[in-house]
């Protein structure tokens, strides 16, 4: 019998116990996978293109729109390559489903966000059709929108001049991301700001955000200071930050959820350590005479330690990997059913963390029993002392 075979045989000697322990490890890592993915949504701050874009908003809050008259002043700043702007539309689809819809300048949008692409003809159609709208591939697929359709979209903020909040737009293009990450984020709807500005009964010549595309990302700090200084002490004071910081701050608004997720993870892990650790200890306790026999036969202290430790590692590794795999499956299912809105499936980083957790756990639960096995004195063990 090989050494590996010996370890496996030992694991299956008490089949019920091994299977039950394995199942608790699987459950723990299933939960670990799902929660850690939620956690990484909250802490990663989505890395997009890094610091090459700045977001300028009203200092008091981005819900207070800024006047478009700022545009030429922003464009004149050295180091600013292109400026786009966007206005929150408060889109509502059918029975009260909120839609992320923004009124933008079409061609500026194209230039400022090069990571989202669409055939040039569609960009031109977007720019030249007053009532045009474009949609991300994810959301278009979700609702079955096709280019050429008239899409009814209500706004929960802006009435048209006739008082009606029911708007309709011509879908002239569907954009998509150029990378794996941006493809997932192609979920927004954009409409033509010129038309919105003219047709709505509420705001005139304003936008919630100016998006500044920089020639050189290293200048981000300096340029944001320049912008904010430019409008200081005016009614429209600004706050300019990198896109990354903006996203991070936005996610943080949801509050202490990341903290709570960490608490849960901690509770699960602590519980699990005890369960598995105890099982391992018990299985070593029961086999003390056997281990003594092994030593009598000439196996070294180190070999006996390795046997016991290998069992713990095998158990944790099997359970942990199955659990992470299940989490990936479950996450993918949630992602598919929600049309890409909830991205729960553990990515590469979560898997890495998971494997690290498996190894740490094996050490913690395997080490004590293994050391005990190594320290055994043959005479005492055989005598049952």
């Amino acid at each position: 019998m090989t050494r590996t075979g010996f370890v496996v045989a030992n694991l299956f000697r008490k089949r019920t116990r091994t299977i039950l322990t394995l199942l608790s490890v699987i459950m723990a890592f299933l939960l670990f996978g799902l929660l850690q993915s939620i956690n990484s949504i909250f802490s990663a701050g989505q890395n997009f293109v890094g610091a090459t874009r700045l977001m300028t908003q009203a200092r008091v809050s981005f819900t207070q729109p800024l006047p478009l008259s700022m545009l030429p002043k922003l464009e004149a700043i050295a180091g600013v390559a292109r400026v786009g702007y966007s206005q929150w539309f408060g889109g509502v689809w059918q029975d009260n489903t909120p839609i992320f819809a923004f009124a933008v300048d079409p061609l500026r949008q194209r230039d400022v966000y090069p990571e989202y692409t669409m055939p040039e003809a569609q960009w031109q159609a977007f720019a030249n059709t007053r009532t045009a709208m474009i949609a991300g591939k994810v959301i278009a697929d979700k609702y079955g929108w096709k280019v050429g359709q008239k899409i009814p979209l209500a706004s929960n903020i802006y009435p048209q001049k006739n008082g009606s909040k029911a708007w309709a737009f011509d879908l002239v293009g569907i954009y998509d991301g150029t990378t794996e990450d941006t493809k997932k984020l192609a979920q927004n709807v954009f409409i033509n700001h010129d038309y919105f500005d003219e047709a709505n009964a509420f705001v005139k010549g304003r936008a919630n955000f100016f998006i500044l595309k920089l020639a050189d990302g290293n200048q981000a700090q300096a340029i944001s200071k320049t912008v904010d200084a430019m409008f200081e002490n005016s009614p429209d004071e600004t706050k300019t930050q990198t896109e990354k910081d903006f996203n991070l701050g936005f996610v943080k608004q949801i509050g202490d959820i990341a903290l709570i997720v960490r608490w849960i993870l901690f509770a699960v892990f602590f519980t699990l350590l005890l369960v598995v650790g105890n099982t391992m200890a018990q299985s070593v306790r029961e086999r003390i005479p056997e281990l003594a026999v092994l030593k009598t036969l000439g196996f070294s202290d180190g070999a006996v330690l390795a046997f016991v430790f290998a069992e713990a590692l095998a158990l944790c590794l099997c359970g942990g990997l199955i659990g992470l795999a299940l989490a990936t499956l479950a996450g993918a299912m949630v992602e598919k059913r929600s049309g890409g809105q909830f991205q729960l499936s553990p990515d590469f980083k979560v898997w890495l963390l998971g494997v690290a957790a498996i190894l740490i756990m094996s050490i913690v639960v395997g080490l004590l029993p293994a050391l005990r096995a190594r320290r055994l004195r043959i005479v005492d063990a055989l005598a049952g002392r």
């Binding site: 207070q64 005016s234 849960i264 699960v268 369960v275």
Partner: protein, 392 residues
Amino acid sequence: MFTQALAITGINIKSIPERWATSLVIVIGLAGVVAVFTALLAMANGFSSTLRATGRQDAVIIMRGGSDAELNSGLDREQTDLLKQLPGIRLGADGKPESSAEMMVIAELIRKDDTKNGANITVRGVDPAAFTLRPNLKIVAGRNFTPGLRELIVGAGVLRQFQGAEIGKVVRMRGSDWTVVGAFESGDAHDSELWTDINVARTTFGRSGSSSILAALDGAGGLDQLKAGVAADPRLNVDVVREQDYFNGQTKQFRATIGFLAGIVTLIMGLGAVFAALNSMYAAVAARGKEIATLRAIGFGGTPVLLSVMAEALLLALVGGILGALIAYVLFNNVSVSTLGQNFTQVVFNFKVTPQLVVRGLVIAVLIGMIGGFLPALRAARLPVTTSLREN
């Protein structure tokens, strides 16, 4: 039979200290499940009870049609003045309709544990009637704002969670300085707000109307009368909702999200705990094989043995459950947190560990104990007496 069961259970329980390691697994496993379950639901509870406490049945909030939230709503000056005077609104002591035009804007404050990222805080411009309409709101420090001046009063929740709005501090909005002159407490969602005079807010933010109207209803027929008045006037396209219903509606999504999370986490962790409990109880039965066989040999029945093992599992589960609830209570009860509400602003609330929640947690613990105890108990009852006695 029951005396037998009781006798064996007594022996079992007395022998727990000798097997404390395995027993501890059940206790800790369940403490974990119950603590997580209770903590998550205590958060959902705290959020809803804060919003539910806001608003009365005998007052309505009027917003532009289809707005859903005050932030999205806007009424112009004409509509505002019309709405404040509509029949169906109760008259106050001064003979004027008891209604307050309110304008909601958002300012950013920085969380206490943060240094740069701002969080959205509601700034509410109000008419003087706003204070009569919310009798539970009390100024607890400093003084009220003076109409016409750029002064703010700050809610207790904002003071707890955010920096830069303490009494005496200056908040900068739209190129102007606002002094915080007092603090108020209302025990509901308004604690997460800053208040000021609506007219000052109008000039500063360049708006003339309001976001919403809050009005007291004139008796039981008031609502119908008010709705009829609104419907009869073509200039008014608005929604009239009872204030309490409006705030109640805002809790739905948060509760659904947290409820979903709590459900999944509890289910997975609960399954883990069931497996752990099964393991421990099997081990306990195996360790006492000889003892159980002896009992059977001297005449104890199979059922009492089964019952006694179940009783042990249940007791351990219950202890674990109580421990878990206690942990959740000590760590989380009344912990103040905040999250984004419907108006896209922060709602500050406290975790609430209620007796009901604790009972639900304990029920889950007992259920897990029952499932985890049953199969091992069955094995104990069916243990072949002769072979067990012969084992060493």
